[in-house]
Symmetry: C2
Subunit: 188 residues, 2 copies
């Protein structure tokens, strides 16, 4: 159906944006995964550090393996801290994000990547698994051409102030409120 | 860093949800792309029909080629109707989405796919490139286990009523308001 020639955009100036995706609706990690699809399509190298996830298998783990030459993926979480059924004590929850933020910074400065995604870092900050000065230091250490994506609910205003693009995903409806369990391919 | 064994969730009942992603912020198409990453990670087959895009090269076109055995991708648009610089008359804009919605329905009913993504269909509806009865018919024709994702700003209430999960992506900040041009890997 498509016949017109396709134009290629190229900005006069490439900039390594800071993007924040926050809010309580479905679509924050999913949006970060979508940016990864875009980035790998441009031949960029991506480092994804997931701060809160790691104990439950999610479709993206295997989906991202298909684009593995472009994506380095670190799962550092022990699941969501404080939610029912999660057996780990607070200090164990904090240990991994503390390593994760150091790792993220190291990868960001390594020169090997074009984009660093810190998935659920806002949430990790809210739960005091990482500290505000650490997150601000990460943002301020960003090389000019590096892209940095920070997801998770309750993004701090100090983080929002330092971002170029900030979206808030709000829940209008969610299947789980209709007593529908999380569904593969959609929710995980 | 991650040592605990990973649990695999499996819902007692698999359901083909209808998911709507709307709003004016960045992260609707990106979120749909993320659901595609999840779905292919579960070995699902995806059909993506993009209703408004097609004249400008975007990273996802090449990114999705990397997962091509799992994703059939139809670009049907002539760019955004009515925006400055777009040279096509209305009737030409409407012709392609009209074919696209028929194609989407055919693919949805073909039995070949687990998930159909209609990207920017809400926007196409708002611009009268497709009609409300066509979109409602698409939703109502959905086989029970098929997942259907509908993106685009200004989702109609009749569409929202028929969805299980609806997210609204609001703009808190956007780089373009700081006179930063769209950036590859992030914006396209």
């Amino acid at each position: 159906m498509h016949t017109a020639p396709m134009q290629k955009l190229e900005p006069a100036k490439r900039l390594g944006l800071v993007v924040v995706v926050t809010g309580y609706g479905k679509g924050k990690t999913t949006s970060a995964l979508g940016m990864i699809v875009r980035a790998v399509g441009h031949g960029m190298k991506v480092c994804l550090v997931q701060f809160m996830k790691g104990d439950l298998h999610a479709g993206e783990y295997d989906g991202l393996k298909l684009v593995a030459p472009y994506v380095e993926h670190h799962l550092t979480g022990k699941g969501f801290c404080g939610i029912q059924g999660n057996p780990y004590p607070y200090q164990e929850h904090r240990a991994n994000p503390q390593e994760a933020i150091e790792l993220g910074k190291e990868k960001m400065l390594s020169g090997e990547f074009d984009i660093l995604v810190c998935d659920e870092i806002n949430n990790a900050l809210r739960l005091k698994l990482v500290d505000l000065p650490q997150v601000l230091d990460l943002i301020e250490s960003k090389p000019p051409n590096m892209r940095l994506v920070l997801t998770g609910r309750d993004a701090r205003s100090e983080v929002i102030d330092r971002a170029h693009t900030v979206s808030e995903v709000n829940e209008i409806k969610h299947a789980y409120r209709q007593n529908i369990e999380p569904q593969p391919g959609i929710d995980y």
